[in-house]
């Protein structure tokens, strides 16, 4: 762990939080009506600048947590203000800090911009807090805190059925979180019973010794919250309603950033805390991921509502992220982490374009749109780039992540890999169909009046398009930062489950021989005799194909 001279991460969270307070306090009567938007966007841009500085300061090749801040917050309760960033969270932080200013500038609202901006900044602080918290209590608080602004943004600025969608979203995710809270407390208390120390710090808790059943139950408790948030099939039904009824900013942030809280939570907490259970339950999660990929794409094919179609496409994309995660190898997990960022960029672009379409046409129903490519070729081009990235066209970012996920899965879980690869076909079906419906064919006179994007809109979308292409062509800077952290995590899982790191040299034919089991030295170190442990199972290194 490296500590930074400047508390980057603390400031990263407090800056948008303070911005929210300022925006909320500036009265709306006497000032010009765009004051709040200017302040909000400025704060969000400053946060982006800080995130870029963090990325610059970030040490490449070091897989540990960096820029760690650790302060005791409540000693008797073992709660620490413990923050840290590694390759897994770095790009999620960058993605978050990029998308917030973009939607503030690109998806403005007419009604009550003061509350709108304040809620968005609260949401940004909460999201960033979730991504950099290494203390489970603070993670939980931030994780829950995201719900409140998200609820108000949907309910306050959403569309016709916003009330239903917001309540469904809130209750569904809140229920999931209840399991998470129980799980967090249980892990901490088990840890306390073993070591006598009550702590919620991830770095300590990850060495807690759990019996097989305990691990599985706790894994399920954590995963319940994350699976709802992501969402993973079959816990996704809140998302089409929420995405469709949310305003553009809400849809972009729900799908682009908040969905990643779920997948990030799985990677950060499930894999670190419950490596044994992760391996045991991997086939189940992989199966859900594959079903999500195929089922999401299939349902998307039958949608007539562009926003719902994108919601189901997200379900399929999240499936790829989960697939890569539970492939539990370097390529798969790196691809999964990269795909979180990729999906954020792509879905944000698509939802912003849908927002433009709604501004111009008052609808996003595919049945009432035709031939918009004729009057609005640039908008069509932007949609095309994002669509192709989502389909996985090489040269754009989606391919790199998808390829890594699939090749990793193929190596460790062949049949799941093959089934998911088939999903690549259906992914093309619904997006091309949607494009054909809305942008191709002879435009009606009404379609003919669709205005093309103007300069300010181009400016908002340009960073996304540039990144979609850049990550596709030259992902090395991103991968070089993600991979060391991923490798550490994989090594942790492998050690805890008695699997020796797979040989990265040579030709796979050489099985990793069990060298007498130096793995998991802490396993018997301090555990009390009354907690019965699972006996060391004979390892089967050849089990991984």
């Amino acid at each position: 762990m490296t500590h930074a001279p400047f508390p980057f991460l603390t400031v990263l969270i407090l800056l948008p939080a303070a911005g929210a307070v300022v925006v909320a306090l500036v009265p709306s009567g006497r000032t010009p009506k765009w004051t709040h938007e200017i302040i909000g966007a400025a704060v969000a841009l400053a946060t982006l600048g800080l995130a870029v500085a963090i990325a610059v300061e970030f040490t490449v090749g070091d897989g540990r947590y960096q820029m760690v801040s650790n302060h005791i917050w409540a000693n008797t309760l073992g709660i620490h203000w413990s923050l840290g960033i590694d390759g897994i969270s770095l790009f999620l932080v960058l993605l978050t800090t990029l998308l917030f200013p973009l939607v503030m500038l690109g998806a403005r609202v007419r009604r009550d911009p003061r509350s709108y901006m304040a809620w968005l900044l609260v949401m940004e602080a909460a999201c960033l807090g979730s991504f950099v918290s290494l203390d489970l209590v603070f993670f939980f608080l931030f994780f829950e805190l995201t719900l409140v602004p998200a609820y108000f943004v949907i309910a306050g600025w959403g569309f016709a059925r916003r009330g239903y969608a917001a309540v469904k979203f809130f209750i569904y995710t809140f229920t999931g979180s209840a399991f998470l809270l129980v799980g967090i407390l249980a892990v901490a208390f088990i840890h306390q019973s073993q070591t006598g120390v009550l702590t919620f710090e991830l770095t300590s808790l990850m060495h807690t010794h759990l019996s097989g059943t305990e691990g599985v139950l706790l894994f399920l408790a954590f995963t319940a919250a994350f699976a709802v948030k992501a969402p993973i099939f079959p816990f996704h039904t809140w998302s089409p309603d929420a995405y469709a009824e949310a305003p553009t900013a809400g849809a972009v942030l729900l799908a682009g950033v908040m969905a990643k809280l779920g997948t990030y939570g799985i990677v950060r907490f499930d894999l670190n805390l419950f490596p044994q259970a992760t391996r045991t339950l991997a086939p189940w999660l992989l199966t859900l991921a594959v079903i999500g990929i195929l089922y999401g794409a299939l349902v998307a094919c039958a949608q007539r509502d562009l926003k719902r179609l994108l919601a189901y496409s997200s379900l399929a994309q999240i499936g790829f992220i989960v697939l890569g995660t539970f492939a539990l190898d370097s390529q798969g997990l790196t691809g999964g982490v990269l795909q979180m960022v990729n999906h954020g960029l792509i879905i944000a672009t698509l939802f912003i374009v849908v927002g433009w379409i709604y501004e111009r046409r008052g609808t996003w129903q595919l049945t009432s749109l035709r031939g918009m490519q004729r009057p609005a070729p640039v908008m069509a081009g932007i949609f095309t780039v994002a669509m192709m990235a989502s389909i996985g066209l090489p040269g754009l970012n989606g391919f790199v992540g998808e390829f890594l996920v699939l090749i990793g899965t193929f190596r460790t879980h062949r049949w799941w890999g093959i089934a998911a690869t088939l999903g690549v076909i259906i992914a093309a079906v619904y997006l091309l169909w949607a494009y054909q419906q809305s942008f191709q064919n002879e435009p009606t006179p009404e379609d003919q009046k669709t205005r093309d994007v103007n300069w300010s809109e181009k400016l908002v979308i340009a960073p996304l398009i540039v990144l979609i292409v850049a990550v596709g062509v030259f992902p090395k800077p991103v991968l070089d930062r993600i991979t060391p952290s991923v490798d550490r995590l994989i090594a942790h899982v492998d050690t805890a489950t008695h699997i020796h790191p797979r040989s990265t040299r040579g030709y796979g034919a050489v099985p990793a021989v069990d060298r007498g089991g130096p793995a998991a030295p802490r396993l018997t170190a301090s555990s009390g005799s009354k907690t019965a442990r699972e006996p060391h199972r004979p390892t089967n290194p050849g089990g991984a194909p």
């Binding site: 209750i171 569904y172 079959p234 996704h236 039904t237 809140w238 089922y295 299939l298 349902v299 094919c301 039958a302 949608q303 190898d329 370097s330 390529q331 790196t334 691809g335 031939g371 490519q373 004729r374 192709m388 066209l393 090489p394 040269g395 391919f399 790199v400 390829f403 890594l404 699939l406 090749i407 193929f410 190596r411 890999g417 093959i418 690869t421 690549v424 076909i425 093309a428 091309l432 169909w433 054909q436 942008f439 191709q440 064919n441 002879e442 435009p443 030259f474 992902p475 090395k476 991968l479 070089d480 991979t483 490798d487 990265t504 040299r505 040579g506 030709y507 796979g508 034919a509 009354k530």
Partner: protein
């Protein structure tokens, strides 16, 4: 010049970027000229590289250029690296050369189109992708090009997007290719798992590590990819629909270059094919079947471009057959010759369509040789070349394929020679209908009342007198005609500069060594010639005077063996029904229904439990006692068991 290899790809890419940024400002025709210049530059660099490559000693005649590391994750290290060897060099030269000619032609053909600059934007991107495909030194870079050309094909087929048929055809092309791509991806995964590298040099140095069964699997997965891209059975139907694109696109992408990518890919994998006899035989059978089916369908089509499309499918079948017979050089030779004569046929057809004001119905053409002399002369060269009449290039190329098939799989040779007869017949039928006979285009009413031509390609009423195309279009015709006529020279054996000699180091010992005696070769050559001439003669006798012979145009063949109906019934409609079922029943009723059901349950439970909140202290006390007893019981059992 070898160090400038990257320019071969970069120049078309720069052209693409310029078109994206300034295309609309440059407009018609400047955008087209600029685009053509960049392809021309690429061709020049290609020629320079070629001469540089010649200076390298033949057995080690390869050059790799490392550009940057693309995907580095653990054991997976993928580099953007270019491989220049005789095989890729051949592809580069003919791709850039033919592309340049077709770009030039397009300046005339697309004149006046409102999306003129966009056309060249896609065309430049296509050439860049195609060059990435052939120059990639590992499977993943090849895949980048493979997907890139597919995407460009999608954009160019649906170029006239306001027409629903064009939009659907583009989508269809993309989806069929996507099915094939799954094969490519799985092949990549399997190879990586075995060899831990995707570089061709490493893969082929470790064929033994892949193992026999996996070699066959890889080859068959690649074959799946090839059936998509190169329109082989079972994934060929998209190519006929792809004719919705502008005719230069059909010439460049759907005849000369992109569709031959599959043949290139299989040739590249010759060491693996060599290790798997089963895969080779499968490939040969697929090729022969496709050649035959494509040719039969071409015999009955009425749309001039559809005839050429099915002809392309059939010719690609020949190339795949050659690959399956181990005759990679013959496949490449036919690919080259085919690029010249089929490109020429399409451009000639484009000239005809242009001259007839967008009429594509053969039955409404006729006697055009009088009105379009240059188009006719050049078209005739391509016609006889495709018919494989000696001494034109098609004869040499097809004989080469058939001779090798005779040596490897005599049964498939029979299919090949029958198809050769059909080929001579259908292309002569096309020529007869278009360039001979009476001026049917001047007829007021469509000759064929029951036409299955879509309205878009069918002019109503009389068509004004046809005119010859402008010089910017006829110049490429002349050049291609010369190439189509004399490309056979490449095959003269024992020549130091022959194609076989040049490309041999790539295939080396993987080449099928079927030695045919000179007398056998002569006999086969005579048979080929006789079949070709007979096919031409029959068609000329039947189709130069008369345009209607329903007996020879069976509905089954006109409907392409009913393949589209079959796929629609077996895959299309069931999957639509499945999607509808998922979206309208499973999703709302089962999954979301479960959630809402749970919510209702909670609500009911809540209202039930509310009754326990009586407000009487005695009730609460009772509950506390009961709870305490439960806890006590639990602790006791724990002690008991623990």
């Amino acid at each position: 010049m070898l160090s400038l290899t990257f320019l071969i790809i970069l120049l078309p890419l720069v052209g693409f970027a310029i078109q994206v940024l300034f295309g609309r400002r440059m407009g018609d025709p400047v955008a087209g000229i600029v685009a053509t210049c960049f392809i021309g530059g690429s061709f020049v660099v290609g020629v320079g590289t070629f001469f540089d490559l010649l200076t390298i000693h033949a057995p080690v005649r390869t050059f790799t250029q490392n550009l940057w590391t693309w995907i580095p994750v653990g054991s997976l290290q993928v580099h953007v690296r270019l491989l220049v060897d005789p095989l890729s060099m051949t592809m580069v030269l003919f791709v850039t050369g033919v592309s340049m000619l077709i770009h030039l032609y397009s300046i005339g053909y697309m004149r006046g189109d409102r999306d003129f600059p966009k056309f060249f934007l896609y065309l430049n991107l296509f050439v860049a992708s195609m060059l990435i495909l052939v120059l990639g030194s590992n499977m993943l870079i090849t895949f980048v090009g493979w997907e890139g050309v597919g995407a460009c094909s999608y954009w160019l087929v649906s170029f006239w997007f306001t027409r629903d048929s064009a939009a659907s055809a583009g989508k269809k092309a993309f989806l069929y290719n996507r099915i094939g791509d799954v094969g490519f991806l799985l092949a990549i995964f399997l190879v990586f798992e075995r060899v831990h590298s995707l570089e061709y040099s490493t893969i082929f140095a470790h064929v033994d590590r892949i193992g026999a069964a996996n070699s066959t699997a890889v080859c068959l997965l690649l074959l799946l990819a090839v059936t998509g891209k190169s329109a082989q059975i079972p994934l060929f139907p998209w190519l006929a629909d792809a004719m919705e694109g502008p005719t230069p696109v059909s010439a460049l992408i759907h005849a000369a270059t992109m569709v031959t990518a599959g043949v290139y890919l299989l040739s590249r994998f010759s060491p693996l094919l060599h290790a798997s006899g089963a895969a080779s035989l499968t490939i040969a059978c697929v090729g022969a079947a496709t050649a035959f089916v494509g040719a039969t369908i071409a015999c009955a089509q009425q749309d001039i471009k559809k005839v050429l499309a099915y002809s392309t499918i059939s010719q690609l079948g020949y190339m795949v057959l050659a690959v399956g017979s181990g005759a990679y050089e013959a496949a490449i030779f036919l690919m080259l010759a085919h690029a010249f004569y089929k490109g020429l046929l399409f451009l000639g057809a484009g000239s005809v369509i242009h001259g007839l004001h967008d009429e594509q119905d053969l039955k409404r053409m006729g006697n055009l040789r009088r009105y379009m002399p240059i188009t006719f002369i050049t078209f005739a060269v391509a016609w006889l070349s495709l018919a494989a009449v000696p001494p034109l290039s098609g004869f040499w190329a097809k004989s080469d394929v058939l001779d090798n098939t005779w040596a490897a799989h005599p049964a498939l040779w029979v299919v090949g020679i029958v198809t050769a007869g059909l080929t001579a017949y259908y292309i002569s039928r096309l020529t007869g209908l278009a360039f001979f006979g009476s001026d049917r285009w001047s007829d007021e009413v469509p000759v064929d009342a029951v036409t299955d031509m879509p309205d878009a390609h069918h002019a109503d009423g009389a068509i004004p007198e046809p005119h010859e195309s402008p010089r910017v279009m006829t110049l490429p015709l002349w050049i291609l005609a010369v190439l189509a006529a004399f490309a056979g020279l490449l095959a003269l054996s024992d020549n130091h500069f022959s194609l076989a000699n040049w490309i041999d180091p790539v295939f080396g010992s993987n080449l099928y060594q079927g030695h045919l005696s000179l007398s056998t070769q002569w006999t086969l050559g005579v048979v080929d010639s006789l079949v070709a001439v007979t096919g031409v003669a029959v068609a000329v006798a039947l189709w130069t005077k008369k345009a209607q012979r329903p007996l020879l145009e069976g509905q089954f063949l006109r409907d392409s063996w009913k393949i589209n109906q079959l796929y629609d019934a077996v895959f299309g409609r069931p999957s639509q029904r499945l999607a509808a079922l998922s979206a309208r029943f499973v999703e709302p009723k089962v999954i979301d229904g479960g959630v809402n059901g749970l919510a209702t349950l909670v609500k009911r439970t809540g209202s039930t439990l509310r009754r326990t909140q009586t407000g009487y202290v005695r009730n609460y006390a009772l509950a506390i006692v009961l709870g305490a007893m439960l806890v006590l019981a639990f602790m006791l059992t724990r002690m008991w068991w623990g």
